[in-house]
């Protein structure tokens, strides 16, 4: 028990699971105790969550959002890779650095420009999402490149590689597993943005639209149930992308294991 509050103490998996379960139960009890008429009790939210999962409305909207997110992530990662790989060429470095700074731009002020530039609501949402995600992806990937072990470059040089061969070996091949890690780490951002973007353009629905609709009518039970669904789907994707990375790049699993030990 003492270990649980000791800095840097390690606990076994079973203890960790028991601890998490206890914390969840305490939180739920706390929530249950604090709920009054306005804030729904956990049991009510759980009931609404189960009902929501079986509705066509939820499934349709969730699929719309998932499809849009995946599409946006695919475009974003392609754009990211292009600029990140090009960033090692001095000519493109400034462009990549500018994209990194674009994290500070808010989407809200740019909606009108994007509306003028796109054909329909679907394109508008996609472009807004890509515009929102890319700076975060590029930031993560540039940090991976910058933090490369200098010995990787030295080994390339001693093997007689020219700069293009070094780029291919270290950045393209050597960092391929990191692309999945960046996707995993930034999926949360994409998932966060989708609700916002769908709120801006409601033409095709989506969980963002659904969330705004429930919010509008103060249907807090369904809002929380939907938040729970969004949370769980996010966790599933996190798990899926992590495993996909380990499956495609077995050495990434060894790296993680070494880092933990």
């Amino acid at each position: 028990m003492k270990k649980l509050i000791q800095p840097f103490a390690t606990i076994n998996r079973q203890t960790f699971m028991i601890m998490v379960a206890a914390q969840v139960v305490i939180t739920l009890l706390f929530w249950h105790g604090l709920s009054d008429g306005l804030i729904p009790k956990p049991g009510k939210v759980a009931g609404a969550f189960i009902t929501l999962l079986g509705t066509k409305l939820f499934i349709d909207n969730m699929l719309v959002s998932l499809l849009l997110t995946l599409k946006a992530m695919l475009y974003s990662i392609l754009i990211t890779l292009l600029f990140a790989y090009l960033s090692v060429l001095p000519f493109f470095k400034s462009v990549a650095l500018f994209i990194v700074k674009c994290r500070y731009l808010t989407l809200t002020g740019l909606i009108f420009i994007f509306t003028l530039l796109t054909k329909d609501g679907s394109e508008l949402k996609l472009s807004l999402l890509v515009f929102g995600i890319v700076p975060f992806f590029v930031t993560s990937f540039l940090s991976v490149i910058v933090n490369s072990n200098p010995q990787e470059y030295e080994l390339c040089k001693t093997l007689g590689y020219n700069n293009w061969q070094t780029l291919y070996e270290i950045i393209i091949i050597g960092k391929a597993d990191q692309v999945f890690e960046i996707l995993r780490q930034n999926f949360a951002i994409s998932w966060l943005m989708i609700t916002m973007v769908e709120g801006l353009s409601m033409s095709e629905g989506g969980i963002g639209t659904l969330l705004i609709k429930y919010n509008k009518y103060n249907d807090l039970t369904n809002v929380l149930a939907l938040q729970l669904a969004i949370f769980i789907i996010g966790l599933c994707f996190d798990y899926l992308l992590g495993n996909l990375r380990h499956w495609l790049f077995p050495y990434s699993k060894l790296k993680t294991a070494n880092a933990k030990s």
């Binding site: 010995q151 990787e152 030295e154 040089k157 007689g160 070996e169």
Partner: protein, 263 residues
């Protein structure tokens, strides 16, 4: 004394200086000659010995061509200035690409060696057998022990086909058993080709001297900033080169003491 001839120069450092905000290395002058022993393919094993922090790693980088000297030049066979890729380099921690299996890493090096064109796989298998790594070819570097990584690093640089192998602190971090194996391995490499030249940069005097034919001592001189080659010891002349179990002999111990006195 063992019969041998010191023939042509294979590596020459001339008036090499390295300065950052202060002089690190100055007036580095030394040369390595091809040693010819009748009836043997005898390569060269040279040690550059110096205290920690004296500038050994900087000299290592200059010799490997990874860094250019502030002044002076280092030339190899046919008086050609050394450049990155000319030397086989084995880093202190035996760095290997973490995303490549042992086989893939070796293949990358073999493909750089024009002499091996079409015979890459066969040569890798031969080396793997010779270095007892056959069963480890499909493993990633993280799955190898320190000694195995060292062997893969050496194999990689040998497959690349360079005549020079530069080793940075090859004995650090190895246990007693591995140390003996490492020494044996380096001797084996030095006997693989007449022009094969091993340059060991180390502060481990005993082990470096035990396998070398020549020792260069890197040190500071009173009142002058920057390290230089203070002394060259010809171990062949002293009949200390190429001898097994030399470490216990009085002459060897005296040489060790002499080197320590110079540091």
């Amino acid at each position: 004394m063992t019969e041998c001839i010191k023939a042509e120069v294979v590596l020459q450092a001339t008036n090499v200086y390295l300065t950052y905000d202060r002089p690190i290395l100055r007036d580095i002058n030394f040369c390595i000659r091809n040693i010819i022993r009748p009836g043997l393919l005898q390569g060269q094993v040279v040690s550059l010995i110096g205290r920690s922090g004296i500038g050994k790693t900087q000299l290592f980088k200059l010799l490997s061509g990874l860094q250019a000297p502030t002044a002076g030049q280092i030339t190899i066979l046919d008086n050609k200035p050394v450049k990155a890729g000319d030397m086989g380099v084995i880093f202190q921690n035996y760095y290997l690409f973490e995303w490549r299996t042992v086989y893939q890493s070796l293949m990358l090096a073999a493909k750089k060696n024009k002499k091996l064109a079409g015979k890459e796989k066969q040569t890798i298998d031969q080396y793997a057998d010779q270095f007892q790594m056959t069963g480890h070819l499909n493993l990633y570097p993280q799955q190898l022990s320190g000694g195995q990584r060292q062997r893969v690093s050496i194999m990689q640089q040998l497959l690349k086909g360079s005549d020079f192998i530069l080793l940075d602190e090859p004995f650090s971090g190895l246990d007693i058993c591995m140390l003996d194996k490492a020494v044996e391995l380096l001797l084996q490499v030095s006997l693989s080709d007449e022009l094969k030249t091993l340059i060991i940069v180390s502060h481990d005097i005993e082990n470096s001297v035990a396998i070398s034919d020549t020792v260069f001592i890197l040190g500071n001189e009173p009142g002058i900033l920057g390290a230089t080659i203070k002394k060259e010891i010809d171990l062949i002349e002293r009949d200390l080169a190429w001898k097994k179990d030399i470490k216990h002999e009085k002459r060897f111990l005296e040489t060790i003491e002499e080197i320590k006195g110079c540091l």
